[in-house]
């Protein structure tokens, strides 16, 4: 990583208001930060502090109320919903706490789904999805449906899906929240390896310190603001 390169994620004064019965609720109150390409960031904070809201904005699933978000130098808030869909498809991979696989589709078809929306033809989709499943160690299970897989296996399928279109950024909102500690460790090891060996930028929300310890940088949210932002080196120092 060179200091002169533009950051992958550039956030300035980001705010998000939710309309509620009793007026607007300010879930984010001016978040500014940069994340460089290749970073591995853990986001922590109490429940309701705005972590998921922030992740949804980073993931282009939602638009900020105020503030600027640039992804790869591109101002995102002004893009059409089709362009946002394309960004989600090509630049970003999501891993959710609840896996979010399509229950009627096989593991292989789940992994191939983003490639479908990328316009890839059937054979190419299957090949690429199969190789992604192999990377998460599930190539033998490609025809199982999610219900025929354990939680850890389902999360690995979800990770394979997030990787399928070879995105630069993976956003994971409590990816180990539903997993036991042994399975969590395996998933985190895999994330670390991806980050180390392929330079994929990872932003991960977690409540647990030992999960956050895998990251090089920790950002703490409180009441919609960043209250702490330290690199691993600083923390150790």
């Amino acid at each position: 990583m060179t200091g002169s390169a533009a950051p992958l994620i550039e956030v300035v004064g980001l705010e998000k208001d939710y309309p509620t019965g009793a007026g607007v609720f300010q879930a984010l109150r001016g978040v500014s930060l940069d994340i460089a390409e290749g970073e591995f960031v853990a986001i922590m904070g109490a429940s309701g502090s705005g972590k998921s809201t922030f992740m949804n904005l980073l993931g282009c699933l939602d638009r900020p109320t105020r503030g600027i978000y640039r992804l790869g130098g591109q101002e995102v808030s002004r893009l059409s919903s089709d362009r946002l869909a394309a960004l989600r498809n090509r630049e970003i991979g999501f891993v959710f706490q609840g896996f979010n696989l399509l229950p009627k589709l096989s593991a292989l078809d789940n992994v191939a789904l983003p490639l479908l929306y990328a316009g890839m033809d059937r054979e190419a989709r299957r090949q690429q999805a199969q190789s992604m499943l192999a990377r998460v160690g599930l190539d033998e299970r490609s025809h199982h449906t999610p219900l025929q897989l354990s939680g850890g296996q389902q999360q690995r399928v979800a990770i394979a899906r997030a990787l399928a279109s070879r995105p630069r950024l993976i956003l994971a909102d409590e990816p180990t929240g539903n997993l036991d500690s042994e399975t969590s460790r395996q998933v985190m090891d895999f994330f670390s390896q991806l980050n180390r060996e392929e330079g994929i930028t990872l932003v991960l929300v977690t409540h647990e310190a030992d999960i956050a310890a895998y990251a090089q940088r920790r950002i703490r949210f409180q009441d919609g603001r960043v209250v702490e932002d330290q690199t691993h080196a600083e923390a150790v120092a």
Binding site: D62, N89, L101, L102, L113, G119
Partner: protein, 407 residues
């Protein structure tokens, strides 16, 4: 997203809920089958009426002996018919008339060799062939001279030719009608069914005079039960009818205020009424069936709406990994279309099969036409698009975050 992938995705979704897909389709299946069947019956009836009308001849009157009554014409029992050969000649001489043929219909047993056949016998004149636009398939019709001298010649209908002669050529053969020998001089071209459902080819025709002597043994005193008249054109029919009435009243010496002893009917007008009645009937049948098609479409919309609600989370997931709104729109639209077109296909098969059954078992005339098949397919397609669009737009309009949060 590639079109084939859309089809594949729709297929996946539909086969994942087989029972529901089937039940959704059922409305469409029944609607299309009903449309095909009803149109087949309606068009079959129309085709039958059309061919019966074509076989009837054009611009026709029938003048019946006897005063007008609700059922047609009535003759006082025991008295002879009131119309004569001379009446027919006088009518033919009127300005707007092409031909006028007196007819005495009756039944008789025909014998050729060892074969018996009972059929109707018409005593008439060569004008009958003109009026009915009826040609001979072989031989010839009898002429005026045959009528004048009461020749024992007969022209036989297609069915009679087949029944009595089989593969033999009937022309020149002698058959017996009520014991009297007649020479077959012609075989009539086939005409098929008449408007009232009789087989017009099961008949024979003999000269008017010969019928009077040999078949009715003089009992009719040279009178005709009816006279068939052809006018020169449809426009002239009203004038012709008035002229015929005047002529017959003066010939029959009917005083002013006295009832006619004959009845004139405009057959062409009756035929047109029959044609428009069947047209309306077939439209009605089609309309009723079309309603069931629309109901089928509403069924599809209903289930698609339920399906969108149930699959909100799926839609959210698809959007999160890169589905554009139009991809989601197409996915649900194609699902609705696939349902309606598969339903249409099954309905077509059922409808065509049903029409065939109705035709062969109930003996109704049916006609499944290319037009009605195209109509059913086209309408199903439109229904799929129309009723699929609203649920699809709903799906496409979902907010990804909220969709993802749905249970």
């Amino acid at each position: 997203m590639i079109f084939s992938s859309l089809i594949e995705t729709a297929w996946h979704a539909l086969t994942a809920h087989r029972m529901r897909s089937f039940l959704t389709m059922l409305g469409m299946v029944i609607g299309v089958a009903a449309v095909i069947l009803m149109l087949a019956i309606g068009q079959g009836a129309q085709a039958m009426v059309r061919s019966a009308i074509e076989s009837m001849g054009s611009n026709l009157f029938i003048i019946m002996s006897g005063a007008t009554s609700s059922g047609g014409a009535r003759i006082a029992s025991g008295s002879a018919p009131t119309l004569t050969l001379e009446d027919a000649d006088a009518i033919r001489a009127l300005p707007d008339i092409v031909a006028a043929a007196p007819v005495t219909p009756g039944g008789a047993q025909l014998i050729y060799g060892g074969v018996n056949w009972s059929t109707s016998v018409y005593g008439t004149t060569p004008d009958y062939a003109v009026v009915r636009d009826w040609t001979v398939a072989s031989g010839s019709f009898f002429n005026e001279a045959d009528v004048r001298r009461g020749a024992r010649v007969v022209v036989i209908g297609d069915v009679v030719a087949r029944e009595l002669f089989g593969d033999e050529d009937p022309v020149g053969k002698i058959i017996r009608i009520k014991q009297a020998p007649f020479e077959v001089i012609g075989v009539l071209a086939a005409k098929g069914q008449s408007l009232d459902g009789r087989d017009q080819d099961d008949t024979v025709m003999v000269p008017f005079s010969s019928a009077q002597q040999k078949i009715f043994s003089g009992s009719l005193r040279n009178r005709a039960r009816f006279i068939m008249v052809q006018a020169v054109s449809e426009k002239s029919m009203d004038n012709a009818e008035a002229a015929i009435n005047d002529l017959l009243r003066s010939r029959h010496r009917i005083q002013a205020g006295q009832d006619d002893d004959f009845t004139v009917r405009n057959l062409t007008a009756i035929a047109e009424t029959a044609a428009s009645t069947t047209r309306i009937m077939s439209l009605l049948l089609g309309a009723i069936a079309a309603i069931s098609l629309v109901v089928g479409g509403i069924g599809i919309m209903n289930i698609m709406l339920v399906s969108v609600t149930e699959r909100t989370r799926e839609i959210g997931i698809r959007m999160a990994i890169g589905a554009r709104r139009r991809d989601v729109l197409w996915q649900f639209l194609i699902e609705a279309l696939t349902l309606s077109l598969i339903g249409c296909g099954i309905g077509l098969l059922l409808g065509i099969g049903g029409a065939w059954l109705v035709g062969s078992l109930a003996g109704l005339p049916v006609a499944v036409t290319v037009v009605s098949v195209l109509l059913a397919v086209g309408v199903s397609f439109l229904i799929g698009v129309f009723f699929g669009f609203y649920p699809a737009r709903r799906a496409a309009g979902l907010d990804p975050i909220e969709a993802l949060r749905a249970q």
